[in-house]
């Protein structure tokens, strides 16, 4: 019970968002990741043009993630009180940035279709 296990974490996340929403979000994240793998396999290469746009969009995703967390938790940047707070904030930023970059890459690939000239 007191032990730290995956089951405990899953139980807590299910309670946090509700079982349906939590697994829907997991499914969405998995679907986007699979779509990314799909377009990589389909195109047989990482398109540097799409990757550049994805990279440029990273700050947008990072800032959006930080903003979302602050709003949802009645917090502001002035509440950061120690190193761990900065690390958590960077973690949120990084997660938002990477997630959004993958999403942008996938959306470009799916919308523009397979590159004709590569």
């Amino acid at each position: 019970m007191e032990e730290f296990s995956l089951m405990t974490i899953l139980a807590v996340f299910e309670e946090m968002f509700g079982r349906g929403l939590f697994w829907a979000m997991v499914a969405l994240a998995v679907a986007i990741t699979l779509a990314w793998v799909y377009v990589l396999v389909r195109d047989r290469s990482l398109s540097m043009r799409k990757f550049l746009l994805a990279q440029l969009s990273m700050p947008v995703g990072g800032v959006a993630a930080v903003w979302f967390v602050l709003v949802m938790t009645n917090s502001s940047l002035r509440d950061l009180g120690g190193p761990i707070d900065g690390i958590v904030l960077l973690g949120v930023f990084a997660a938002g940035a990477v997630g959004f970059a993958i999403l942008v890459y996938v959306v470009q690939s799916l919308l523009r279709g397979r590159p004709a000239d590569s």
Binding site: M1, E2, E3, T8, V12, V92
Partner: protein
Amino acid sequence: MGDIDKLMASRRGFLGLAGAGGAALALGGARQGQAAPVRTNARILILGAGAGGAAIANRLSERLDGAEITVLDGRAQHWYQPGFTLIAAGLRGADYAVSATERWLPRGITFISEYAAELDPEASRVTTTGGQRLDYDYLIVATGLVLDWDAIEGFDLSMVGPETGISAHYASPEMAEKSWHALDRFTDEGGVGLFGRPATEMKCAGAPVKICFLAEDIATTKGNRDRCEFVYNAQAQNLFGVPVIHHRVRQIMDERDITYRYEHVLRAIDPGAKTATYATPNGDVTDRWDFINVVPPQRAPQVIRDSGLAWADRWTDQGWIEVDTQTLRHARYPNVFGIGDINGVPKGKTAASVKFHIPVVEDHLVAEIAGAEGTRLYDGYTSCPLITRVGRAMLVEFDYQDNLTPSFPGLIAPLEELWISWLMKEVALKATYNAMLRGRA
């Protein structure tokens, strides 16, 4: 109040929740060490379906096969008490803390929606308020405590609200919301705000301090700090029972110009004159207020006090049951265990304590039924995300010895005001609490 609020899930678990999902995956998943259910036909009676009662019912129904488990509780609503502080600070509505009691109970048990009217531990029998007679082999007392509002002369719960400036957020989710309206008005208009705690043992001893800090922060955010005066009245010669935490709280109160007084115990209020009378070593002191947060003395329910389970020579005006401080088994009736606020142990009437009581009681009870002896011991661990303002808290954790027992040493400093500690309270705590109720955390 469970502002334990406190139940940092597992002591090692929360950072994982905060972000290290990968680490969790690396642990490889499944819950370890869960033995096959123990076959028994024991009759187990659980008094109370609050945090302790619901959680142990779930654990026992998983660990035991064939046991006749009965849960007795007359209240249809389950209250997430750690949320009361957030409601009283205007961050949540009353419904945040309300759910249906039955929702948390496992299938295959008997739930009786009545209270215990009589408890006879000699005969191992409980009579309900509806007159049912329940014989048990094992009894788990998880009734919680009662708030003795009548002990505050001149006070009545109907007075709570913005018109009077009276706040009583311990009473219920609905009262916590009314208390917010009182606080909202006070921090708009200014004046003198009185805070404090009773002289009895109490649930979440940090909660009166939290609401004082939050009130000061809310007034500051509104730009009205210079019109408000804050006075915190401690019942003892300290602001918190654990010395190192006392000093930290005192330091923060000094920094934020909150007045504190020792050995001031609220005994009467006059809502008409807007005065409060405190018992002090030098006699009564009466002060005027524009806002007052009332936290009353707290005691065991009468049926427990009348049962013979209480300590005979300790807390005689309060009636907490005489359990071993480490095994939580009753000192005189070995088939009786206690979980949560009702336990007569030196510390911790919090949901965090409940979380750490449960595996101990589960272990000793299941082991005995299996013909063995339990080994787990409770060290007095409790914790409190001590909110210091909206957006920051200190994650204080301690044990019977007044030792600090940080779950994340080197990462989350217990006496530092941190955003991550606030996130735990604001985001992760209720989820962890709910998982605990279901016997899953």
